[in-house]
C-alpha cells in the first residue's frame, strides 16, 4: 500500500473533552450528529440535548470537514443519576453512543467503546461501568466489549434497552 493510501485508511483521532474544554463549533457538531442519529434516525422524541452534557466527558471523532462521525459521553454515576440509573457510587456510565451512517461498518463503534472503557479505567476509580444499552447492540457491540446483560429488556425512549455491566479488572 502506498503512503497516501495508508493515510486515507488511518483511524480518525479520538478526542475526549469535558464540556468546558469543547469549542462552540465542536459542541455544535456533536449536537448535529446526535440529532441525526437519535431524533431523526431513530425518531426519538425525548429530550436529546440535556443538562447532563454540562457535567460529562465527551468522546468524539471528526472528519476533515469537522463533522462528528462518532460520539459517546461518559459520566460518574456516583455523582449524577439519569433516567435509567440512580446515584451508584463506584460506577460510571456511557451513553449517546452514535456513529454517523457514512462511518458505519468501519469498526468505529467498537473502537470508541473500547477507548471509553480504557479511559474510565485509567482516569477514574470506577469499579464497573453500567449502561442502559439499546438491545439490538447487546451482542454485536457491548457483549463483544465485555459487557454482561443483567435482567430483562425494557423500553426507554420508545426503544428496547437492556441493563449491562462491565467489571473493571484492577
Amino acid at each position: 500500500m502506498t503512503k497516501a493510501a495508508q493515510t486515507e485508511n488511518a483511524q480518525p483521532q479520538i478526542h475526549i473533552k469535558t464540556f468546558d474544554e469543547l469549542t462552540t463549533r465542536e459542541l455544535h457538531a456533536i449536537y448535529v450528529t446526535r440529532g441525526l442519529v437519535f431524533t431523526v434516525g431513530q425518531k426519538i422524541t425525548d429530550q436529546e440535548v440535556d443538562d447532563t452534557d454540562l457535567v460529562c466527558f465527551h468522546l468524539f471523532t471528526q472528519n476533515k470537514e469537522g463533522k462528528v462521525t462518532a460520539y459517546l459521553r461518559m459520566y460518574d454515576l456516583g455523582k449524577y443519576a439519569d433516567e435509567s440509573h440512580e446515584i451508584t457510587p463506584g460506577a460510571w456510565t456511557i451513553g449517546r453512543v452514535a456513529v454517523l451512517d457514512e462511518a458505519r461498518g468501519t469498526g468505529l463503534g467498537r473502537r470508541i467503546v473500547a477507548e471509553a472503557i480504557e479511559w474510565i479505567r485509567d482516569n477514574t476509580d470506577a469499579e464497573r461501568i453500567e449502561i442502559s444499552a439499546q438491545q439490538y447492540l447487546e451482542n454485536s457491540l457491548y457483549g463483544k466489549a465485555g459487557f454482561v446483560t443483567e435482567g430483562e429488556p425494557y423500553i426507554e425512549a420508545g426503544i428496547e434497552h437492556v441493563h449491562m455491566n462491565l467489571v473493571l479488572e484492577r
Partner: protein, 159 residues
C-alpha cells in the same frame, strides 16, 4: 432580558440551553422529526430571553437569506431576513413574552440590518394570532413542512 448573539458569540452553556428549549417545543412538543441542530445555526443570530438563572424561556433565530445558506433550504431571497425555530416555553404562555420576542426580532432586523423584508415559512396555526397582528401578510396557500402545515408570509420593513 433579551439577548441577540451571532453563533460565534454564544457560550457553550447558551448553545446547550438553546437546543434544550428548541427540543421542548419542536421535537417533544410538535413531534418535529427533521434535523433540529443544523448547519444554518452557524450563520444565524440567536435571539433569546434569559431569566436570572440563565434559563431560556423564549427563543428564535434570525438569518440573512439574500444568499442560500449552505446545506439548507433557506435563501436566496434578495434583501430579506427570515425567522425560524420560534420557541416559547409553555409556562410563559399568556404573559405576552412570545409577542415581545417577535417585536425584539423585528427591531433587530430593522436596526441592525439592511433588510427590506422579513420573509418567513410560518406554522399555519400562528398566522393570524401571532404573525398577522405583527404586520405579516400571507402570500401562499398552506403547504406541508416537517409534517406540519405552513404558509409563506412577508413583512415589509418600514424605513
Amino acid at each position: 432580558m433579551f439577548v441577540a448573539k451571532h453563533f460565534n458569540e454564544l457560550t457553550l452553556e447558551e448553545l446547550n440551553a438553546i437546543y434544550i428549549i428548541r427540543a421542548k417545543v419542536f421535537a417533544i412538543g410538535l413531534g418535529f422529526g427533521d434535523p433540529d441542530p443544523d448547519l444554518a445555526d452557524r450563520e444565524a443570530i440567536h435571539l433569546m430571553h434569559e431569566d436570572d438563572d440563565g434559563r431560556i424561556l423564549a427563543y428564535m433565530r434570525l438569518m440573512d437569506i439574500h444568499e442560500n445558506i449552505q446545506g439548507t433550504k433557506y435563501g436566496p431571497v434578495p434583501d430579506s431576513w427570515t425567522l425560524s425555530r420560534v420557541s416559547v416555553l409553555e409556562e410563559t404562555r399568556g404573559t405576552g413574552l412570545g409577542r415581545r420576542l417577535l417585536e425584539e426580532a423585528l427591531d433587530y432586523i430593522k436596526n441592525e440590518t439592511d433588510a427590506a423584508y422579513v420573509d418567513i415559512s410560518a406554522q399555519a396555526y400562528l398566522k393570524d394570532t401571532y404573525y398577522k397582528s405583527a404586520g405579516f401578510k400571507q402570500i401562499s396557500d398552506e403547504y406541508d413542512e416537517a409534517g406540519m402545515p405552513h404558509v409563506r408570509m412577508i413583512k415589509k420593513i418600514e424605513r
